[in-house]
Amino acid sequence: MSDFDLAVIGAGPAGMAAAVEARLQGLIVLVVDENAAPGGQVFRAAEACAPDPAVGPDIMPGLPLIAAFRGCGADYRAATTLWHLDPEEGVLSLAAAGTTETVTARRVLLATGAQERPVPIPGWTLPGVMGAGAAQILLKTAGAVPVGPTVLAGQGPLVWLLAVQLARAGVAPLVLETRTVSIAAALAKAGGGLVAGRGLLAKGLSLMAEARRRGVRVIRGVRGLRAEGANRVERVAWEGGSAPCDTLLLHEGVIPSTHVSRAIGLDHAWDADQACWRPVADDFGATSSARVAVAGDGAGIGGWQAAAAAGRLAALDAARRLGALSEDSFAREIAAPLAARRAALALRPFLDALYAPPNAVLTPPDETIACRCEEVTAGAIRRAAALGATGPNQLKAYLRCGMGPCQGRVCAPTVAALIAEVRGLAPQEVPPLRPRAPYKPVTVGMLAASAESLQQSAP
């Protein structure tokens, strides 16, 4: 069994920055990441796709961090999953290439990033419907673009970024914007962030201008979106319109990936601005568990610059707690990343307000499949909630939502919102689903093979 000072889960901006900083402070660092290369989703396959003119300009800012991470001396395990974490004992169960391994860490940082908010609309299980983020990953990892009429439906910064990237690659999509909040209403919530966040705002405005210049057509105020077709999507329809469509890309923003943080029982709080759960954490990512910290989008959506700053802060906090950094040095070192994070988050209140997900996305019509694994409709969930399922854990027992291979990663937000709607509860009154290990599938054989070594090391 290997022992580490700090185990970092996730090699996105937060995880990479944390590893780099922790190594600078002399800690022995493990970084576990599911993907084949570092970068997380925002800088997915960045080293490979940087020369691609469609995505290169947006991915370049990640290259220095990736290079620093590659050279920092952390024990970096690519294509490796964490399938169980014991926060009390600091024991991590990992799986890679068909075998499991157990390591221990004095401190653990969850930098698990974000996932796309599920966008359950009627017909969204049809082949040809996918997440906007998914299409962007195809572009980054394989340079691949959709063939035929492509529709990008939803809202948020990624919609504009992807529209431009696809247009640069010669596939200008039709954008159906679902935004319901006016710019004026969002401005009212922006506070002073517009000034401090003017850099990001300028980037956004220039993306929108580039989209127009490259021939991206935009229809605004789209409601009642649905995908139609026999065995694949053939048409996208909305109130008052429809368009032929071979590929429908959906996006309603991103939410923290809290699968592991919920499974290990960290305290979570409902983030009303972003309509999602996030782990409760202090300025340095310390959570309700004495050993575990969180950083990056997995602790609340803030974008990659805020994530990198949070990763550094969590690493500095780990170094202080482990006695590698004096209080004085700590106080000195945190100033820069604290300021960087403040600047990176300045525009967030405006963006959160502007791109608040509409109710129809959170609580879809009855005929919509909410749980894609077990194929359970929103209507069935509403009926079970009326029968007496007061939360997603009991509803899972009734209808199997969350028992499929995705373990509720996709359906949990929808299930909770539907229960809240039916039972007249506020979102935070419906407890989140409690996932269990294995967080990602391992085979019976892999587990069985680990039996002897585990029994020897068991307390």
């Binding site: 007496g388 009991q394 027992a397 291979p405 407890p431 391992v442 085979t443 019976v444 587990l447 039996a451």
Partner: protein, 380 residues
């Protein structure tokens, strides 16, 4: 009309059942079937809920070693199950996936096989005229019954009474049948206090006050604290069990084994540990690995399957592992039911026990299940 108490609205009924898990829901369903105005009080989304962790066997062959009355009660329940399943399907359209093709207990060594054989023989003796049909089957014959049997399996005990069902479909079907028949299912109603007088019971919950001349405590581990208020004694403790579930596979296994069964959906459930760790529902990779190891020895092809879910849950255990059924002597009308076999005993709870409670007296056949068996004479 419901009497009001201290200015607070009280919901009156014929009977209150405390506990909306498999035990309480089966009893409540049966009581409603007897025509009683029944209120079923349940906790909320976060609770220990042994029912959600049940392995799903309708299992007879191992039950009641040294306690033939438990063997009879269990076999009686297995016999009631087809009627219960048909009743629930007719009322709710929910298929509880009941199958009773017989079942086997696999033995992975000669020692296990011999011990098992002795145990089954002893139980047959104890069964007396009631009888107990079983066979000890050697590996070659067993391999004809169970595809892909591992070389480590030396044999098994088999009985025709065994089967399995979906615990979660059963729970939903009971809740649905109960409410559709006019029963009142009240979630988020954890009992916080209560008062007892003969045939006059009152409980306080987050969802209000409830009163009835009869009450059934079926609150699982919660019974331990609740029972003394009603003149009952239910010394139950938690025992942790962990279960692994594989991805769905096409049907392979024609019958359930004690710790391996293929569900109606095609998933294969692997169980289950017995751990004395108190109220600790954490999972433990070393125990999960042991479960996986035994499953892979039993059926090597299972090793290739992905585990997509696993959990740990707490069994409701009496000191001797047997159920506790009682009516309070001090406060007649107060009953309690406690067991760790909410699926196996659902047939008995809905169709045998509920009518007894409705009549106001437990059958003498249930006398051995009274908690009086734990009363030891005090030393002078």
């Amino acid at each position: 009309m419901a009497p009001s108490h201290a200015g607070m609205q009280t919901r009156g009924s014929d009977v209150i059942v405390v506990g909306g898990g498999l035990v309480g829901a089966a009893i409540a369903h049966g009581l409603r079937g007897e025509g009683l105005d029944t209120v079923l009080l349940d906790e909320g989304d976060i609770a220990f809920r042994a029912s959600r962790g049940n392995f799903g066997l309708v299992w007879v062959q191992s039950k009641g070693f040294g306690a033939p009355w438990y063997q009879r009660w269990t076999r009686g329940s297995a016999g009631e199950w087809p009627g219960l399943a048909a009743d629930l399907a007719a009322r709710t359209g929910i298929d509880t996936a009941l199958q009773q093709p017989g079942g086997v207990h696999l033995c992975l060594s000669e020692q296990e096989f011999e011990d098992r054989g002795r145990r089954m023989a002893q139980m047959q003796v104890e069964a007396g005229n009631f009888g107990l049909e079983y066979r000890m089957i050697r590996r070659d014959e067993l391999a004809e019954m169970l595809p892909g049997l591992g070389p480590s399996v030396v044999g098994a005990s088999w009985s025709p009474y065994d089967g399995h069902a979906s615990p979660l479909a059963l729970l939903q079907a009971l809740h649905r049948a109960f409410t559709e028949a006019g029963g009142a299912y009240v979630p988020n109603a954890k009992v916080t206090g209560g008062t007892a007088a003969p045939k006059d019971f009152r409980v306080e919950t987050a969802a209000g006050t409830f009163a009835a001349p009869r009450i059934v405590l079926a609150a699982g581990l919660g019974n331990a604290d609740l029972a003394p208020v009603f003149g009952l004694n239910t010394p139950v403790r938690p025992q942790r069990g962990q279960v692994l579930v594989t991805e769905r596979a096409r049907t392979v296994l024609p019958m359930p084994c004690t710790t391996i069964r293929q569900t109606g959906e095609g998933t294969i459930m692997l169980g289950d540990s017995m751990e004395e760790v108190g109220f600790d529902t954490r999972q433990s990779p070393p125990v999960m690995a042991q479960i996986a190891q035994r499953a892979a020895l039993s059926f090597p092809w299972i090793a290739e399957l992905n585990i997509v879910r696993a959990w740990s849950a707490l069994r409701v255990m009496a000191p001797d592992g047997l159920p506790i059924y009682d009516q309070s002597e001090r406060f007649p009308g107060a009953f309690t039911a406690n067991c760790h076999s909410g699926v196996t005993l659902a047939g008995a709870h809905a169709r045998l026990l509920a009518p007894m409670i409705a009549r106001g007296a437990l059958d003498p056949a249930l006398d051995p299940f009274s908690a009086k068996r734990f009363d030891v004479p005090r030393a002078a």
